[in-house]
Symmetry: D2
């Protein structure tokens, strides 16, 4: 990962509140995926499982948006104000992966 | 969940191979989400985490497609051949949730 | 496109109502895209154009779902009841393209 | 649309090259949608039409990414450097609409 732009904010660049919120969301998503796995092993009707899958996908997209928001507000803004506008190309590559 | 169409294939409607494959995929996804959680707590650069998020989203969509394929081939085809074409409305509702 | 499964319903396999509905929706989408093009040429603020783009994407996805629904109800069900279950592989390939 | 952040670059904020490129892409998309409309009216096999729909969706997403890239590079960077970081909230709202 060399040549990557790096966030210059020291030590902890996300607040403890933000980390707790993400931990909470991701743990819930992890639990949902464990639940889907169990449902498949126990032959629950697929349509119910597929709806559960759609719900997890949606929760994951939402968690990703939360992190993207924090990334832009904390890191990208700082980079741009410091004149390192090449961060925008990196950001666009990431946004495209999230859009597809 | 009453009034739901039900798959009439008895006991285990997915093969053991299919269940093992799904277990494998979903366990890997679970591990990836745990990894993302750890990365956030350890202040890894967000752009790397976001790319990891996009990878998990893609893996989840792919697992969902696998299950949808099995669902159509095992359950939906059986229902349609048995004249219960109302299964198509249920299927469309589910596909729409997966598309969005 | 040889080796493709074909819909056996004769002459017109969609009702005139359905065709009129699709014509209406697609003409509106066409107009929206023409509008976006004009907005870009006239230097309208990008954020407004991007929101318009998101609206058209959503309208297009919705039109695709409408057609998919008609396709499954008219063609796929008929094929499956006629024993040509290979239509399911074709359908899955198409659904995957719509999901991504 | 009052209270909207505005791009301060004067007269034409996209280059003529960029406008020509977008015009080209959007005109092609418009033509594809007209083609889909005609295919439906002429009872072309739905699966072919649905694949064409998926292709147009993909082309539209790609055009949206192109415009988003230009928007961030031209307008958003300028706003952030001018201290108007509230542009980030507007940007996130738009990105979320494009992601969903």
């Amino acid at each position: 990962m060399k040549n990557k732009v790096h966030c210059h904010i020291e030590s902890s660049h996300h607040s403890e509140d933000f980390k707790a919120l993400m931990k909470n969301r991701l743990s819930r998503i992890e639990g949902q995926i464990r639940g889907i796995n169990r449902m498949i092993q126990e032959d629950v009707y697929c349509d119910e499982i597929l709806n559960q899958m759609a719900a997890v996908q949606s929760a994951l997209v939402s968690a990703g948006e939360k992190l993207l928001d924090a990334h832009i507000k904390n890191c990208v803004v700082e980079q741009i104000q410091g004149g390192r506008v090449e961060v925008v190309d990196e950001l666009m590559t990431t946004i495209k992966r999230l859009i597809r």
